[in-house]
């Protein structure tokens, strides 16, 4: 009876494990935020290391399991319920043999770990050498509760672009992320490009990322940072150099004047509301620094750090009830009368 139990255990564990293994294999590809779906050299090297570790460690696991379960089918077990005799020690020969086996297994463990150590350290080293000071570009990312302040570094201050929650990078060019934090500790993580790097107040942390082919990669804050830690995402949009340059040129321009009278009215509503104390729109009187820059808000993919897709409807909902959509957010609930709302939305969405 006990024996059947044991084998049932064997079968079941095996089945469960295989099932999971399959899930694992098909699950890990083709996601906009996946650690094993690399889109750049850094994440590529990490993924290679990952599959190496995965293969080796899985083998070890299976071997250990096999031996563990074999103990259930040993003669000792079959002669199970016999009364206890004086000696609780098998013949010395067995012990000697066991000692040799266990010693061998231990040495094997040490060697395998040594291999893994070498692999890990060398990967780390080669990743750290990927950075490229002279041809690389520098982007400052500052974590805030709960959004990302982004600044493209340039020696000419007039060419320094400030934006939020969305990073465009040229493909095939190394980009250095200079991480800082305004309040608590956040962590910058775009899994398809590279591992995470904490953004720590009073410190500057750096990491090099690079995208091989054009694409849109999602990132998320990976260090618990308070109420809305869950809604602190960002997009990295990799595009060819030329496309990137034109984007940059457009973003550097001040906000485009509103098209049409409703837009104009919306602008006035915006400038006379509390919005301007936190948000800035280059080319207008709005110069707030504590909230995301809205100069080209209309061109962005999402609202409130990846909380909602950027549509005029969502924006309306966000402005009228931010605390309902993102409880605890620092976005103020500003009473906007229904007739004012539409122009305001048109104006903001018009900031392409």
């Amino acid at each position: 009876m006990t024996k059947r139990n044991g084998e049932k255990g064997a079968g079941l564990k095996g089945a469960v494990f295989c099932a999971y293994a399959f899930v694992l294999f098909d699950a890990c590809a083709g996601h906009q935020q996946s650690a094993v779906d690399p889109a750049g050299p850094q994440s590529g090297k990490i993924a290679v290391l990952w599959w190496f570790f995965f293969g080796l460690l899985t083998t070890i696991f299976l071997i250990v399991m096999v031996f563990t379960l074999l103990t259930l089918t040993r003669r000792g077990h079959r002669s199970g319920q016999e009364p206890l005799n004086a000696s609780h020690l098998p013949p010395g020969a067995d012990e000697k043999e066991l000692t040799r086996i266990v010693a061998a297994a231990t040495i094997a463990t040490v060697l395998i770990l040594f291999v893994l150590l070498i692999a890990s350290v060398s990967t780390g080293k080669s990743i750290s050498e990927l950075g490229d000071k002279k041809n690389g570009m520098v982007i400052e990312v500052t974590g805030n509760q709960w959004w990302w302040h982004v600044r493209y570094w340039n020696d000419d201050p007039s060419q320094m672009l400030v934006t939020a929650n969305e990073i465009h990078i040229p493909t095939g060019r190394p980009v250095m992320i200079r991480g800082m934090s305004q309040d608590v500790i956040h962590s910058f993580w775009v899994p398809n490009l590279h591992g995470k790097r904490d953004l720590i107040p009073s410190r500057v942390t750096t990491e090099w990322i690079e995208a091989d082919q054009p694409g849109i990669y999602r990132g998320q804050c990976a260090e618990y940072c308070g109420l809305q830690h869950a809604h602190m995402a960002l997009w990295v949009i990799a595009e060819p150099q030329a496309k990137f340059d034109s984007w940059m040129k457009h973003q550097l321009r001040p906000a485009s004047p509103p098209g049409g009278p409703t837009g104009e009215r919306g602008k006035q509503i915006f400038l006379n509301s509390a919005c301007i104390y936190c948000h800035s729109i280059r080319g207008t009187a709005a110069g707030g620094q504590t909230g995301p820059d809205l100069t080209h808000f209309g061109s962005r993919r999402s609202i409130a750090a990846g909380t909602l897709p950027n549509t005029i409807g969502n924006l309306g909902g966000w402005i009228t009830d931010p605390q309902g959509i993102k409880p605890g957010t620092h976005m103020a609930t500003i009473p906007v009368s229904s007739e004012d709302l539409q122009p305001l939305l048109e104006y903001i969405e018009g900031l392409k």
Binding site: W50, T68, L70, T71, H88, T109, S120, A230
Partner: protein, 634 residues
Amino acid sequence: MNQTEPIPNSSEREAQALRDLENSWQTPRGMIGWLSCTTHQAIGMRYIVTAFIFLLAGGIEALLIRLQLALPNNTLLGPDRYNEIFTTHGTTMMFLFAVPMMEGMAVYLVPLMLGTRNVAFPRLNAFGYWIYLAGAIFLYWGVFTNTAPDAGWFSYPPLSGPAYSPGKRVDFWAQMITFTEVSAMCVASELIATIFKMRAPGMSLNRIPLYCWSMLVQSFMVIFAMPAVMIASSYLLSDRTVGTHFVNPAEGGDPLLYQHVFWLFGHPEVYIIFIPALGFVSSIVTANSRREIFGYPGMVLSIVATGFIAFGLWVHHMFATGLPQIGEAYFTAASMMIAVTSGVQIFCWIATLWTGRLRMTAALHFVFGFIAIFVLGGLTGVILASVSLDVQVHDTFFVVAHFHYVLIGGALFPLFGAFYHWFPKITGRLMNEAVGKLNFWILFIGFNLTFFPMHILGLKGMTRRIYTYGSEMGWELGNILATIGAFIIAAGGVVFLINIFLSRNRGEIAGDNPWDADSFEWAAASPPKSYNFEYLPVATSRYPLWVAASERTFVTGLRNDRREVLVTTLMDAEPHHRLVLPRSSLWPLLTALAVTIGFIGSVFNAWYITYGSILTGLAFVGWFWPRLPVETKP
């Protein structure tokens, strides 16, 4: 077997001796007696029961977490409530369940295994329990009055600092840490003194049961790890209450320093929970494979080595903060080294089972489950040790899966095995084996269903501690599986409780040694008498109950009319002198109350530190005041 048989005394002297023992060791009746109890069996049981209640509390919180995450964009719990619940879950499981539970088991078992009558400091033992209880109630007072901590079980500043965690929430957390660490230190120091000085004659260092070895190592780890968290929580408390600048970067403090100090405790903490479990496994394996454990010296060495290495790898919790290459390489190596020591023990157990004559008890089922789950968790641990991989999976559900595999697999499964193994000793009745095996399979399947998918979720980019996620992320499948699994685990818990309650009243009578096990606790009556042994046993072998009954040896000459035990030498356990242990006393409770007043008050007003200290000082004077008649040399 009843060890009074070789004693050639006339029956009435026998009876008189027993009466004397009963009188001198019994606890006074009534409420006062209950509060003043200092026998290790009672205190141990209180630890175990209280810690089990908090296991249930933490489990309920876990179910709430899983319910919230079961579906994308779920609104069952708001962000604030969710943060409070996962913080309370982690804190409860770590500080109010795992450590106290392991201590409770040790307080109950170690004196029995060493063949003595109580721990070295019975009143300190009681004090430790009362302090732990006070801390636990304090935290849950906060939870029930909407003052639950919400900064994570590690409370990183600045998020947990005065500027970003307003109110008293984090102070409740930090002060609860102080309570539990005081309690842990009390138990650790009394266990060290007991294991060093109160072993049965002849139980030299190389004959100590492996469980006692692991508790010895664990106690030393407590002593060197807890001061670190004492400092970390004091950083937080003083910054939050009196405005010091330990973690304020603007004034020269440093938030990263907090992380270093916290993990200097936090990593050993994992082994503080897990090393006692190794002891359980060794005992269960030895008893149920009915052969001496394979490679005793290797086991002892690897336990000790684990204890040392555990202090050298805290930084692998901080790889994402960006460290110098060389440092990373060192900590990667250290973190991987710990796998060797664990590996050695796994191999030795497998070797023992390989050549043993297995008895597939429920306890042994849990041991097999432990090996399966813990090996997997250990291997994912190797992945986390590698800096390059860690920066990808750190703070994702991969890590959540990893440490649940290591902690539930490595500590909870052995613990349940231990419950099934020692339940007959504690209650005198066997637990139902069939239900026990059912219980094991439910827990094992539920556990893997809950936590294995989390590996995949982590790789698919699901970060920890998020209260919700969008449906576009492709995380539904894993999460719904995990939630289902969580409820299966809950069902397993219910089965266990039912088994406990049924077996406690209707289970078949166990007898002293139902498993034909090897160590001294099985020589005592089940349940043990308040004095454990009428005649203290002598260890003539590493497996003292496996020597022929005619070669058993016992100690006579201890006075029965007072609580007298035998102190032996450190290395060879030669009898050295007799020691009179204190009787029942209310002072531990009163002292604990004084300390509690000081601790809880100081959260709201720093002056209470002074008031509390004065009260505590007075209580200690009462504690140590010489009782008359003063005992003098006979």
